[in-house]
Assembly symmetry: C2
Homo-oligomer: 338 residues x 2
DNA sequence: ACCAATAATGAAAACATTTGCAAAACTATT
DNA sequence: AATAGTTTTGCAAATGTTTTCATTATTGGT
């Protein structure tokens, strides 16, 4: 146990070459004779040597890590995004340093700093809303950075994502077009969450363009969970005056709303129209299948991964990002007002 | 742009002290005079200096990262687990290096190696089934390691998790006790997935103890997704001879099964009993609410985090792991055979 | 104002690598 | 067999820190 781990010098000794040659055999194999290389490989295996990236990093060599900071992992949305981002990033030889800030932007700053200490090659953040400190830090260290999930032309950094405002409009227009006038909304808190905020703005503007407005007491704010949405909606529909449509800030909330309605024997979409945003795994196969706006997490994740890697390797910094358009998906939970 | 990033020497110069003092002011602030410290802090801020962990790491100082390798992020189960694990780990000052292997154990080995190159302080893997290479590697480098999700007394490394075999038995017993004799099973592929394998074994043993067996064509294997389970189950119940109960390998599959049944107008639990395993977010509020076995991902994640950190800091290595028992949760999708 | 403690700082070695340059070892050509 | 060219290798410096030990500055007691 006590014998210290093998270093490059130990390997060099064992292979009867100099440390430089061992190093080269790792980094520029074509420069070392095949026979020597074999001897070195054997020594490496025998000693169980593992290269020390930290020691390379010190020479300005890329460490091969990308920092990813998310509000939380435990949301269907982010899980899908993280998966595709990390997978795509791994395919390109990088590894992810992951942390979550729980929707607290100061935490985000602290985490970003820490990741910079680790000398990540690049950073990825969710959304466009970040503290000035965070933006300042990233810019000052000029760390290649990409903003995920949201896209805006006047974003301060390259971003690949969808247009959440448009997503809101899309769904708002759809519901209005179906003839609904009594509309409720179930959304997550919008502070520190520009995605939710923009979606809601989109919905509101859409309704406003038809002279409609969401009544104060029909504007439900719930945390991101089936159960929270379910209980809020259950309470809502106990009142005699009911909305004919409930627009939910995302699919999970919509699922909760549907469950609440089913429990109360209110049928969807005959009595109430329900819509989500996101088109998560499962929404298509829900019964009834959910009308929603697709925000293609998978596409966003992999495009973002490609962008950040491009930013890192040729630092020319090609792209200013990409807009992955949201798409209205009409399924069975929305119908004309009866 | 071109000016290189500030290093500790630049800071030292700017603060008119030696590099050693700067270093000390970071690592042992009590050893440096308050006035000097203030001067240094000012310089740090002015230059935008960020410490280089890589350079510390080569001094054998802990880097503060823990490698976490999961099959995939994009499953409700793992998302919850990752969230609680990473959160708990962050609270203790560590950061996670995350990667997914997509259920390919060779990938897992490669990833583990890479994380070791980064000199992670510890590793966390999902499940007990790993290649000999992986186990060998971790043991040989004697990296503190914890196995998540599954617990077994004779596991080769400390593990904190539930007893998936028992979970299977629990649900099997429950279904049998309700009088069911015609039982189908919907499970993910069991190769490279000891969790699924053990659950299925538990179910089979439970049935076998009553002389029951799952018919070959009632043993459905589907990938982890609502839609796959839904379509498999939809096909299953088209046949005239139907099971009276369908035991699903996890809650997501159960959701799919319920949707399939609802679509076909088969009511749950009156006509068919459905059970899941996992008790994911949402199962409680599903309509009808899902009978399942709770595997407390949150508890597992945070206990595992504490264990690995303990293993890392006092290398004495206290614990051999912990069993977090599974618990049968009877809700509305299971009922007596009619 | 001086001495001994004690506190604060600096110099230099150490850490595990990479790399530019020069030396050594081969090849091919004559 | 000698020369020129090419391929391989080793030496030594460099990377950004930490740490041990020695040195200098400060303080309190007389």
């Amino acid at each position: 146990m006590k014998e210290k781990k093998a270093d490059i010098i130990a390997v060099a000794k064992a292979a009867r070459v100099s440390p430089s040659t061992v190093s080269r055999s790792f980094n520029h194999p074509e420069l070392v004779k095949a026979a020597t290389r074999k001897r070195i490989d054997a020594a490496v295996r025998r000693l169980g040597y593992i290269r020390n990236r930290a020691a390379q990093t010190i020479h300005g060599i890329r460490g091969g890590t990308i920092g990813l900071i998310v509000p939380t992992v435990d949301h269907a949305i982010f899980a899908e995004l993280i998966q595709s981002f990390s997978q795509s990033v791994e395919e390109q030889g990088f590894t992810i340093l992951l942390a979550s800030h729980g929707y607290r932007l100061e935490r985000e700053y602290a985490i970003a700093r820490k990741m910079l200490e680790h000398r990540v090659d690049g950073m990825a953040l969710i959304g466009l809303e970040h503290s000035d400190d965070t933006y300042g830090l990233l810019r000052q260290q000029n760390t290649p950075t990409v903003l995920l999930w949201n896209h805006s032309d006047d974003a301060p950094m390259p971003c690949v994502g969808s247009d959440n405002y448009l997503a809101g409009r899309l769904i708002g227009d759809h519901v209005v077009r179906l003839g609904h006038r009594s509309i409720a909304a179930v959304f997550p808190p919008t502070s520190g969450n520009d995605r939710a905020f923009q979606r809601l703005s989109g919905v509101e503007d859409s309704l406003a363009s038809q002279g409609l407005k969401i009544a104060e007491d029909w504007r439900l704010e719930t945390p991101y969970s089936v159960s929270a949405a379910k209980s809020k909606v259950a309470r809502l529909i106990r009142f005699p005056r009911r909305p004919t449509a409930i627009i939910c800030g995302n699919d999970v909330l919509a699922w909760g709303a549907i469950h609440a309605l089913r429990r109360s024997g209110v049928s969807v979409p005959e009595h109430v129209t329900i819509t989500g945003i996101g088109d998560f795994h499962g929404s298509k196969d829900f019964e009834p299948s959910l009308t929603t706006v697709r925000i293609p997490a998978h596409t966003i994740g992999s495009k973002a991964a490609k962008l950040i890697v491009a930013l890192i390797v040729r630092e020319s910094a090609s792209g200013s990002g990409e807009l992955v358009p949201p798409e209205l998906i009409v399924r069975s939970t929305s119908g004309p007002v009866r």
